[in-house]
């Protein structure tokens, strides 16, 4: 390992932290959005505890929302990476089930905050 390598490592650390700083916005997520391939297949509020089923490439992907968090409960894939990922709750987090082509994001509701009638 030479000096340049050390320099590279330091640069990476700086870039990582600076991008961390910019990417992690302080917003709370408000809804769970599930995608199959690039299509939105489910949009549900993060506030309501419930279980949902998404049809993935290799079978059903069951997701659970509880206490403002979401996780993949059951899915059929070789390595079960996404069900092992556990809970996510912040608006920049996502669960990616590649073999099932399913992506679960927490997003901020761009819908209405309130309605007057």
């Amino acid at each position: 390992m030479n000096k340049n390598d050390i320099f590279l490592v330091l640069i990476i650390i700086v870039i990582a932290f600076v991008s961390l700083f910019f990417l992690i916005n302080k917003e709370e997520g408000t809804e769970v959005v599930a995608y199959y391939e690039d299509k939105k297949v489910l949009t549900v509020p993060l506030e309501v505890d419930n279980k949902y089923i998404i049809n993935g490439y290799l079978g059903e992907v069951q997701i659970e929302i509880k206490n403002n968090r979401v996780r993949v409960l059951e899915e059929n894939s070789p390595r079960h990476l996404c069900s092992n990922q556990g809970w996510i709750s912040k608006s920049y987090e996502s669960i990616i089930c590649l073999p099932n082509k399913v992506i679960i994001n927490i997003e901020n509701n761009s819908e209405l905050d309130a309605i007057v009638k």
Partner: protein
């Protein structure tokens, strides 16, 4: 291609597949961050890049992805494209790093590890139209340091060992 080289490359291809399978068998970082892995197969790629050239490294890498496609991840499956994207970008970047910078094999390995993540994220953006993985980039960058160093050290040992053969 001479017989001796062909045999060696075949052996290396086999080793890279075994390392790949091993890594999938014992998912060290399972479920922490999407896209995070040790990248053991990169030891072979790095070695080939240093011992032979980029042509052989590309050959081994592409063959590995295809064979892995047949063996476990499924040929032309979405995971397949992710692997291919990561592999190609990392070889290209490692080649450039080796050629135009004065980084040692360890630095080159770190570059490879990072560009592997980048490649996967690019594929995600292209195929899935998803930028969600971008959020994990900082973490992938940070993790690429220890994994890159480890892979680099192994490759360094190998390259030294086979220097005169």
């Amino acid at each position: 291609m001479e017989l001796r080289k062909t045999t060696r490359l075949s052996m290396l291809l086999a080793i890279s597949i075994i390392l790949n399978l091993l890594e999938n068998l014992f998912p060290f970082f399972n479920g922490m961050i999407p896209g995070l892995k040790l990248g053991l197969a990169n030891i072979v790629v790095l070695f080939v890049l240093y011992h032979f050239s980029i042509k052989e490294a590309l050959l081994i890498s592409i063959l590995r992805v295809f064979l892995m496609g047949f063996i476990s991840i499924g040929i032309f499956s979405i995971t397949f494209w992710f692997s291919l994207g990561g592999a190609l970008l990392s070889i290209l970047m490692m080649y450039l790093a080796k050629k135009i910078t004065s980084l040692s094999i360890i630095g080159v390995s770190i570059i490879g590890s990072i560009s592997h993540s980048f490649g996967q994220i690019l594929i995600a953006i292209i195929i899935l139209n998803q930028t969600a993985m971008l959020y994990y980039l900082p973490w992938l960058l940070l993790f690429s340091i220890p994994t890159g160093i480890m892979v680099g050290l192994f490759s360094q040992i190998l390259v030294k060992h086979f220097e005169n053969s």
